[in-house]
Amino acid sequence: MDWFPLYNSVRIAAVSTALVFFLGIFAAHWIAKAPRLVKGVLDVVLTLPLVLPPTVVGWLLLLALGPRRPLGAWVQAAFGLRLTMTWQSAIFAAVAVSFPLMYRTARGAFESFDGTLAQAGRALGLSNFYIFWRVQMPICRQGILAGTVLAFARALGEYGATSMLAGYTPGRTATVSTTVYQLWRTGQDALALRWVLVNLGISAAVLLAVNLLERKEGRSWP
């Protein structure tokens, strides 16, 4: 059994989760403070990828990044980099579909954060940086962690936009989900089942790890 699809899926999900972690947190932090109209508009725009079919997200991404589109063509001309049909292309897809999960859970966590703690910290002379990373983030960690895991799981399982952006090239862009489809399409059911089990195992392990982690941390400050 060739393990490349697993390795590829994990690296795509890891890179995209790292990006989405910061993007989602900063979007949530900024938008929480924005005026109401801006908040309403941005909230819809940033959440759209969650409800759009992944193929629509893929189509829109191709519209921007495709080799004959302005941005894709420019990057190709300037840096000699293809934005589609490489394993990195799948990162764009994974980021786009998993971002709303991180953003919304982080925003929910920030909204339930008691603002007087930040105000008290400022009056005590603590820097805004310290207050955000050492007070607000630890207190909101359950929501942040949940968002991160959801984003990772979503990125790991992403299929629709990924297949449009990165395609299926064995050993180059194949991921677990595109491999399962390919194996099913070509009638290799036994192999497909193995990949399905791998997928189930990873997802269950991730969720279990988070549950254990949260229970352990939950004891540290009553």
């Binding site: 007087t116 105000q119 910290g121 400022r122 009056a123 630890p138 400050w221």
Partner: protein, 352 residues
């Protein structure tokens, strides 16, 4: 050392217009009903909220000046703010809550200073506990230790006892007093509880619907509050419209059908008579300002009896007069239906 505040701020229809000053050694009470702008005023001083216009000065340092475009961030104001809920960081131990505010010291000095502050506030045994494991009083002391760690130049207390059970208050008030008495800067104590601030603050500023009264001595608020709003906050229960009487030293109260002797001179702008319930008493023989009343209703309090009186000459629909008597005086009354009540001329408050 002094704090002077002159600020204005609009919130929709609500207008905040505050002018006050506080000095070291004479805690200033900011007294007002809920929603009158007390907390907002404190937040403006701390830099957490921003006034539309005005100037805030602390020991000659300008913290805010809309004209000069000065608006120091909270971190540079050195204002100690005790929040209603104490705002301790829930994920840090008591010790850590204090130590994080001592980042300017090296590790050894920080530990020493933390231990010193915890000892000062009798929290040595709670150093390793988390805020939620503390009682309300311990939380308050932990918050104070943390504030003192930041070495503020002024202390702002926002309803320091509103989160506590009343039976705890007395002891905690004494402990807070200890800290305040040692604090080398001005103190502003926000409250809606006149008893609490009467016991602890020699100076008072009344905030009524966003407007501040001039700062005065607490004793003056009790004897001569000046306005109806201030009188109400100082605990006065009886009010009625007022007009000058037929001779100097007399005033007429049409609602109660009374002409009363007063010791304060008449002046333009007076509209209302204020009469404290405990100043009303059964008349002695030959006492001035005596009037016959019917006793309409009686309410027993823990240590006193409150009786609602209707003067015989009162017009229909006039507000009842509340009289507060110690229980033993009430028990000694010969008649529980009718009473000759009286009030001393110097106890009558003429209000705007």
């Amino acid at each position: 050392m002094a704090l002077t505040v002159r600020i204005q701020k609009r919130y929709g229809d609500f207008r905040l217009d505050v002018d006050l000053s506080a000095e070291t050694g004479r805690a200033l009470a900011l007294l007002g009903a809920s929603g009158c702008g007390k907390s907002v005023t404190l937040k403006c001083i701390a830099g957490i909220d921003r006034p539309d216009r005005g100037r805030i000065e602390l020991d000659g340092r300008v913290l805010f000046d809309s004209g000069a475009g000065i608006d120091l961030p909270p971190q540079r104001r050195r204002v100690g703010f005790l929040f209603q809920n104490y705002a301790l960081f829930p994920h840090m131990t008591v010790e850590r809550n204090v130590a994080v505010c001592l980042g300017r010291l090296d590790k050894r000095r920080r530990q020493a200073r933390t231990a010193e502050l915890l000892a000062l506030l009798h929290l040595e045994g709670q150093a390793a506990l988390y805020p939620r494991q503390l009682s309300g009083g311990q939380q308050q002391r932990a918050a104070l230790a943390r504030i003192l760690a930041a070495e503020p130049r002024v202390l702002l207390l926002d309803e320091p006892f509103s989160a506590l059970d009343s039976f705890l208050k007395w002891q905690l008030e004494q402990e807070l007093r200890e800290v305040l008495d040692r604090f080398p800067g001005p103190v502003v104590w926000v409250s809606h509880d006149r008893g609490e601030v009467f016991r602890n603050c020699p100076r008072v500023c009344v905030l009524d619907a966003g407007r501040s009264s001039p700062v005065m001595d607490m004793a003056e608020l009790m004897s001569n509050p000046g306005t109806v709003g201030a009188a109400r906050l100082s605990g006065c229960k009886n009010f009625a419209a007022l007009r000058p009487g037929p001779a100097p030293g007399l005033v007429e109260v049409p609602a109660w059908g009374l002409t009363l002797q007063v010791s304060a001179p008449w002046r333009e702008g007076l509209t209302t008579l204020g009469l404290r319930a405990h100043h009303l008493h059964p008349a002695e023989a030959g006492e001035a300002n005596a009037f016959p009343c019917q006793i309409v209703r009686v309410t027993e309090d823990t240590s006193a009896v409150l009786a609602a009186l209707r003067p015989d000459a009162a017009s229909p629909g006039a507000p009842l007069l509340w009289m507060e008597l110690p229980k033993e005086h009430w028990a000694a009354l010969p008649d529980r239906d009718r009473l000759l009540a009286a009030v001393r001329p110097e106890d009558l408050m003429l209000l705007e």
